[in-house]
């Protein structure tokens, strides 16, 4: 469902205003609205899932209730709705000594970074807002926009903890972009395209055509990519920018209410984006694992979503199992382990395609 198709459809629907600017704006706004819904619903579902996953791993039941109106609904299903209402009605505090303009701007910058990236994420054979010919490059570029927001938030709060958090996140995200990007280069080398749909179409024909199983170097590349994006989205064991036991709340120490929830929203949106790229780039996207079965359009969306959900679940699994790394160890892993291995991967894949491809 690209914007072009929408525009053409609107043109036939309202012939009087054919090719006018207004229709173009409408054609752009419709997918934006849909995307915003996707982000919001994603956050609500993910927060609930995170609560439940963490609870189950810790021998608890998590949010529970005895039906609508009492506590949080059956199995606590309404817990996130209640949370959202609470955040919306909370007092919005801006510290007196904060840089007010940047302080207000920061959550939006982060959110826009995550939000804009979703445009190029394919959820099915036709379910994509815009299939750029540089899709994967675009997502990487937009994904790293968030770091500006984090630094802004850390700096403008005028709080030492926030400053620490902002500085740490800058170092961390910039470093981990590199192994993540280098791992995706493996994908690009194999598929010889930057378009997301092109990458997915390359992996047609069952699970052994997926890039992750295509050769051993790609297999390693997937894990490096995945761990790097966990670091990029600031999740445990790489959550040093917020590190609640050290930096109180890191860059969002001073934020409250809805502004704070924007950080949260964009964290989950980011998780969605990076998992989608992982699923599309390595796990066959919307292709079914068995060729020929469940391969229709609707099933495509199902396969894509289930792969994304699986990757997000693994991220949650990490978070509730591992301790947190120290900032220099984080850098060590990035520069001394991931970077060399991903460079070797690129050479390896090159030779592999030369010899076997």
């Amino acid at each position: 469902m690209t914007v072009d198709q929408l525009f053409n459809w609107l043109n036939t629907l309202v012939p009087a205003m054919e090719n006018s600017g207004l229709l173009l704006v409408v054609a752009i706004l419709i997918p934006c609205l849909a995307l915003f819904l996707v982000v919001a619903v994603n956050a609500i579902v993910m927060v609930y899932a995170e609560r439940k996953v963490s609870a189950f791993m810790q021998d608890r039941m998590g949010p529970m209730g005895q039906g609508v109106g009492l506590h949080a609904g059956k199995w606590g299903l309404l817990q996130t709705v209640a949370d959202a209402l609470k955040l919306l009605t909370k007092e919005d505090i801006i510290p007196e000594k904060a840089d007010k303009f940047l302080f207000i701007l920061a959550p939006f910058v982060i959110f826009i970074g995550a939000f804009v990236a979703i445009i190029a994420v394919p959820f099915g054979e036709t379910v994509i807002v815009a299939d750029f010919n540089i899709g994967i490059f675009y997502i990487l570029a937009m994904g790293s926009l968030g770091v500006i927001g984090l630094i802004l938030a850390g700096w403008s709060s005028n709080n030492k903890w926030s400053l620490y958090g902002g500085m740490r996140s800058a170092a961390q995200i910039v470093s981990y972009e590199i192994p993540a990007g280098l791992s995706l280069i493996v994908v690009i080398m194999l598929t010889e395209t930057l378009s997301m749909q092109g990458i997915i179409q390359y992996q047609e024909g069952g699970m052994f055509n997926w890039i992750i199983f295509s050769n051993p170097f790609a297999f390693v590349a997937f894990f490096i990519y995945f761990i790097s994006v966990v670091a990029e989205t600031n999740r445990t064991p790489f959550d040093i920018p917020e590190a609640e036991s050290e930096l109180v709340g890191g860059f969002h120490t001073e934020y409250s209410g809805m502004r704070w929830s924007f950080f949260f929203l964009s964290e989950y949106a980011n998780m969605l984006v990076v998992s989608a790229v992982g699923a599309a780039g390595f796990l066959g996207g919307w292709h079914s694992p068995i060729p020929g079965y469940f391969d229709s359009n609707g099933w495509g969306v199902f396969w894509m979503l289930s792969k994304i959900v699986f990757l997000i679940f693994v991220m949650m699994w990490f978070r509730w199992t591992f301790p947190r790394l120290r900032v220099d160890q984080l850098m060590n892993i990035c520069w001394k382990v991931f970077l060399p291995i991903s460079l070797i991967n690129i050479f390896g894949v090159g030779f592999w395609t030369l010899i076997f491809g």
């Binding site: 996953v53 189950f56 039941m61 506590h71 699994w317 199992t321 591992f322």
Partner: protein, 193 residues
């Protein structure tokens, strides 16, 4: 170089072990769950208790309660309290061991000791109470006790006594009107003689 790869292997293997443990806990949540859905299920946990009966408890530290009809006003609990949260005032009864109808005073305790004093004030400030249970031991009539547990037949357990106003946490156990009634009675006696 060997150390480099050993470190990587160690990291991967120990982390997989940890992830295995959390996974096993997640899939066995039905069996492993230890929490209580509080307002619906209340302590003591009915099926997941740790192997002994509620009645076997020696005592349960919950809210203090006084059976004022049994209190002889000996002030032992007031004296032992380390934080002085018990305040007792007594008045000499006109006749030892006899009921005074007007103020609902009962002259003989359930242990059949005859009271010489009328307790006109028995306040326990539960905001100050440190739940040390010291006041319950010296009581000769066992009329001050912590609710629930072995005392459940005297008073059911009460650990949910939060209030909106702090002054509501001062429990006044003396029967309302005792003080005024006593004063009035003494004044009348004085006027007659």
């Amino acid at each position: 170089m060997a150390k480099y790869f050993r470190d990587i292997w160690e990291s991967v293997s120990t982390m997989m072990t940890g992830m295995g443990i959390t996974w096993m806990h997640m899939v066995r949540i039905k069996k492993n769950n230890v929490t209580l859905q509080y307002p619906e299920e209340k302590w003591p946990r009915p099926e997941r208790n740790i192997g002994f009966d509620h009645g076997n408890y020696n005592v349960i530290r919950s809210r203090l309660h006084v059976d004022i009809d049994d209190c002889i006003g000996c002030l032992k609990c007031e004296r032992i309290c380390p934080v002085q949260c018990i305040k007792i005032e007594t008045e000499k009864a006109p006749v030892r061991g006899e009921d005074i109808q007007d103020i609902g005073h009962i002259g003989v305790t359930s242990n059949s000791s005859r009271k010489a004093l009328v307790v006109t004030r028995f306040d326990i400030d539960m905001t100050e109470c440190c739940y040390c249970n010291l006041c319950t031991y010296p009581c000769p009539e066992e009329c001050i006790y912590m609710t629930g547990g072995p005392n459940a037949h005297k008073h059911p357990i009460d650990y949910e006594f939060s209030e909106f106003d702090r002054s509501d946490l001062i429990y006044r156990f003396a029967k309302p009107g005792t003080k005024e009634g006593m004063e009035k009675m003494l004044n009348e006696d004085g006027a007659e003689s």
